[in-house]
Point group: C2
Chain length 722, copies 2
């Protein structure tokens, strides 16, 4: 009686955090026979000969047939069928048989990591359901329905025959392991999305388009999501294991997407991708060079969780998209043009100019990104009022920590639109990305700064995503914002202020009566070109403007790298009139300093002679890179060899060195890579690959060419395999 | 013009995270004289001879005079005065002088870590204010008001004289450093609390009472918060530095208390205290042995951030209380009796019993703590709707991770009461501590479990805190809960369910018509005693009950250590009648197995013979330890020696070994410790200390005696120094 078991006074509270760690239950568990009421000897107990998971049939019914994985994959709250064969006919009255499904190292019925389903007995207590569908002699077919909120991941299957003396369990057999995924087809699942076209796009489409460039010059690249490729599902579960996500949380979509957003970046938790904006990618792959997610996820899993180098926002968004679609959560990639990165969450993006109107890099810490990519996932938010269900922002680009870790979301898009910023998670940060005011401050040498110009409309001008079942973009700005200046927009700003967002407390600017804007056509990299500065005088007096035009090379994050042009021009503008100033830009001036994605930032700082007032404008020009061409010869047919030709010509007067060419063809072959030491000025390269399509349908060939001097050269070709 | 500065394309986004890292500005900064318009030679520039911070006068006005710290300490949004002496008379028209206040390694005006206040010129842009109060010859007195939401911490002071050629700055002088704290006296501060008695208790009181024991036997211990003791304020800032809390967040009370709750425990971040419930404290100090926070905070800082061993909930709460009061945030320690620790947040505390009605320790992971201590802080929540301002729960005992880290809160007490669980932070977890149902499940050897009994009223029965200006407890249960079963209580449960708390979906229990409860008087440790089991039969038939009484030694966390008693008794109870069963408990049975805090847990499992129904009840008995006595001889007077005598007698029949005696007297002396190798049975020890009070007023002497066989022996004596 006095058994003294030594234990911790705090009790056992550790949770299994790995799907790949296994508990191995014994094949025989004897009962304490002293406690058993003696009975007449029972008849010979059953033996289990085989368990058939009916992988192909079940997968077709569960929309999981596209996964290149030999095991069964099912979705929550949808029945699947297993046939057990015994050594003798099964008798429902006599035989006590249980199915057991286990996940992780400490299976526990209370935690949903150990499922016990007696065959032929209705189970009242658990949440998975089972029923006998058919008994034919030695064969029993059972229908099993995982509950709508069960843990997702890889489960082990055992069959147990219970006798008076103990439990006889089948041996561990990995062929009977099966995966359970989220179910966007089922109304009871947290990630249910009603429209089938949306499910086909946001869950089943394994190729997508990511928009980039800048707001006046929207460009795009195709991306291989590859969620059905061989090994990708296991890689995604490995990501969760590597991030020590407790199994008990893995059925909760809110928790899962939040953890997912943290786990795509290497910060804090050795997640999938290392971010770099440093232009030196020699120890890894340049962010611009990737063509899709498959290569990244498989490399991360193959190397046991070593973060992959390197990513920028669209790479994070692309891989997070793959991860979510793979687990069955409807997801899409969003591009926000003119996205503020507000370091202090005060809804003010401070641009500090020096006395000459140039950006003071040492004092400017906030920035406006030309574009920023994040993701949206579609789900119910049972933790929030109903109106905040639907699309949720998640973002794994490591911009700022959220409550201590680099992650962002899920943030209800509806809550952002209404300025309802109290609810979790990270609504304030997302709101600032879309609604910050740009404040130009000017500082003198005494260290005094003053507000020189405020632009309330520059940030969050346009949000886009790939259209369902089409290769063009859909403008989804109105999901996030009411029209600038409308009553509802004002209400949103008021709501935000009531939730602790600082008020717009800077003084209103005196009206100068003169405005400027910069006009420019599309420019090819390496071309000389002209800018037009339009100066509009709305006053009734003549105005003379002394304009300082600064031309800089900049990153897509708005961070300025090199100033290559500084020019002063003056114009006299008649009342109610517009003057045009031409500014010539020479390739020899900017080419030596270009950084990736080839953005030029022009800032004009104007001083009105008559009044002493100052005005500003800025404009980003994204230069068009030379073209990569992809062709196939012949008509693509299943089982027939097809030749793919990728070619490129160096149009520049300098040598391109250490050039990497990538060809990715989702569902046709793994990613191929080819390196060239040099491509001389005017020189061409041509790369040929022979592939044999295995399945019919639409396929996308994605190519990229990348070297230090030239990044972001990509193209794609869609083919229909017959 | 073509200056190519190499930089990261993501910009500079690192924040200073340490108050002790310093930026050393140059003593002279030359201007680029080419850019300066030549002027006639200026008159001889001023030199600064001295900066007087008026520490004593300012501290009296700012309620900070009690801090044993020679530097100035001020509170936000309240003016303080500095006098600058120059080598010649100051001329407001001619002289350009600035005060600079810096904090951390990268001072920045936009981030509030660099404050520039020109003397005599009104500053429009910044948020700190200054004004010239008095000019007398070479002496200028300036009034400075930190803004109501500024960063708290230690600032450096410089005075800068600006000439045409540059800036002349005073040398670094630590004597002019000053601390800024939260200001509960000021309505504009986030932590304003209107009632002065509350400020005196929750901010200024440096000794408190923490309640423990169990709900039927409430006991208490005094605690030295010691927030004004020498070195404690620096230790608290060191805790923030050690936890890498960005300086820019340190003015935001919501952020600060959340970070504080994370930093008191060593998990994740090498915070202040290592938790242990393992009964083996030989490498540190037993949680029960501490008498206050001073010793712990100073040790942590002195050893450079090595976590201190060991803590349990009241130690975490005591130290967190000191930390908050020290920084100026109103705080109190709360004790929640019958506090559920629900591992999965499903609002069900599962107690799994085996076939004999004994707790199955291997399958019971949730537990009900006899009591659990946390803290409340008082503050506005600008991030939430107004009604959720006021008292907020924070808890640094590492029970469960909150969004990835061990921390809890701030959780609005009002939101918990209303079941409004969507708002940050951790409302769900706190709600479960107060509102879980205890579900007794019974499992048979086949692994089938069934619900045997549900108790919806066991958890969260009573919450208490020390009363303002009194040494008794205040029942604050109604702050957290509406009366059990009331309409408002039902509405709260409904609100919680609408926010994703699982419904109470178990089947209603059939009414047995028989109830049991256990009655017992106060019991001294080492005594034999009697329990009375009252069995009440509400039916109209006679009932025979077979009762199994299990007696176990248990921790205050509800975790069972050793079962020392198992007894079967039967009783026949007439209709509408009550029977009493006596159960004798012998000291020899339980004494060898006692664990700290000496709790005995009795579980009675009853089977009604006539109906086969089962009923349960449980009761914790906390044994009263032997007494520690504290006496002083003579009348305590300032400057006069006073003798303190602490004495103890071992009433047991066994030897007490490695006994530690602690004496703490807040404001009188540092904590003193004395060790005894052995105290034989019946033996006494007496420890004498001579102290000389330096200040008059109420002082509390706190003593504790601790050894492996006997923990939680504490006492206190209040004296008035004249």
């Amino acid at each position: 009686m006095n058994k003294h078991i030594k234990s911790s006074g705090k009790g056992r509270v550790r949770f299994a955090k790995s799907n790949s760690d296994e508990h191995r239950p014994p094949t025989f568990e004897a009962f304490d026979t002293k406690l058993v009421t003696p009975r007449a000897p029972t008849t010979q107990a059953l033996s289990v000969l085989d368990v058939d998971m009916h992988a192909a049939e079940n997968k077709r019914a569960h929309n999981t047939i596209k996964y290149k994985n030999t095991n069964l994959i099912v979705r929550r709250n949808q029945e699947f069928f297993i046939t057990i064969s015994f050594d003798q006919p099964f008798n429902n009255q006599r035989d006590n048989v249980q199915m057991e499904f286990l996940i992780g190292s400490s299976p526990d019925e209370n935690k949903g990591t150990y499922i016990v389903l007696p065959i032929g007995i209705e189970k009242s207590n658990g949440r998975w359901k089972s029923r006998v569908v058919d008994i034919r002699g030695n064969y029993v077919t059972v229908g099993v329905t995982p509950d709508a909120s069960c843990i997702i991941g890889r489960f082990q299957t055992f069959v147990v025959v219970v006798s008076d003396f103990g439990k006889q369990r089948t041996e561990r057999n990995t062929a009977t392991d099966f995966y359970v995924l989220f179910n966007p087809w089922d109304p009871a699942d947290q990630v249910y999305i009603p429209n089938d076209n949306q499910r086909q796009e946001y869950v089943m489409n394994d190729v997508g388009i990511i928009y980039n460039g800048e707001i006046n010059n929207i460009t795009s690249r195709s991306w291989n999501f590859g969620q059905f490729e061989k090994g990708v599902l296991d890689a995604c579960l490995f990501v969760l294991d590597s991030g020590k996500v407790p199994l008990v949380y893995r059925g909760n979509a809110t928790q899962l997407v939040r953890q997912g957003s943290a786990l795509m970046n290497a910060q804090d938790d050795d997640g999938v991708l290392v971010g770099s904006w440093d232009e030196n990618y020699s120890i890894g792959t340049a962010p611009t060079a990737w063509t899709g997610s498959t290569e990244i996820l498989l490399k991360y899993a193959r190397e046991g969780g070593v973060p992959v180098c390197f990513a920028q926002c669209w790479v994070y968004a692309g891989v997070l998209n793959s991860f979510m679609r793979c687990l069955g959560i409807p997801t899409r990639v969003i591009t926000n043009y003119c996205s503020a990165h507000d370091n202090t969450g005060n809804l003010k993006t401070d641009i500090v100019l020096d006395e000459d109107g140039r950006v003071d890099r040492s004092r400017t810490r906030d920035s406006v990104w030309n574009y920023h990519c994040w993701n949206e996932v579609y789900m119910k938010r049972p933790d929030l009022p109903d109106k905040f269900s639907g699309w949720q922002v998640i973002d794994s680009t490591p911009q700022e920590t959220s409550d201590g870790l680099y992650r962002c979301g899920p943030t209800s898009v509806n809550a952002v639109k209404e300025g309802e910023l109290s609810y979790p998670f990270d609504a304030r940060f997302v709101f600032a990305e879309l609604n910050s005011d740009v404040i130009y401050r000017q500082s003198d040498k005494y260290g005094n700064t003053k507000i020189h110009h405020v632009d309330t409309a520059y940030v969050g001008k346009l949000l886009v995503t790939k259209r369902v079942n089409a290769n063009s973009y859909e403008d989804i700005t109105s999901n996030y914002k009411y029209p600038e200046g409308s009553d509802k927009d004002k209400q949103t700003m008021k709501n935000a202020e009531n939730r602790g967002i600082p008020t717009r407390d800077y003084l209103p600017q005196p009206e100068a009566g003169v405005t400027m804007n910069i006009q420019v056509d599309t420019v090819k990299m390496g071309d000389n070109f002209k800018l037009t500065l339009n100066i509009n005088n709305q006053t009734s007096q003549t105005r003379t403007i002394n304009a300082t035009i600064t031309g800089s090379v900049s990153f897509y994050t708005g961070v300025v790298s090199t100033t290559f042009k500084l020019e002063n021009k003056a114009a006299t503008v008649n009342p109610q009139n517009t003057a045009k100033l031409q500014i010539n830009v020479q390739a020899v001036d900017y080419m030596p300093y270009l950084v990736e994605q080839a953005n030029l930032l022009f800032v004009v700082y104007g001083r009105i002679q008559e009044t002493g007032q100052t005005i500003s404008t800025m404009r980003v020009v994204t230069l068009r890179p030379p073209e990569l061409t992809i062709n196939v010869n012949g008509i693509p047919r299943v089982g027939k060899e097809l030749m793919v030709i990728v070619s490129f010509r160096n149009p520049f007067t300098f040598i391109l060195e250490n050039v990497q060419l990538r060809l990715d063809a989702v569902g046709l072959m793994p990613t191929r890579m080819k390196s060239y030491n040099q491509i001389p000025p005017g020189g061409s390269v041509q790369y040929t690959e022979v592939i044999t399509p295995q399945t019919p349908g639409r396929k996308v060939l994605i190519g990229s060419l990348d070297c230090a001097a030239l990044r972001q050269v990509t193209n794609q070709l869609e083919i229909i395999v017959q």
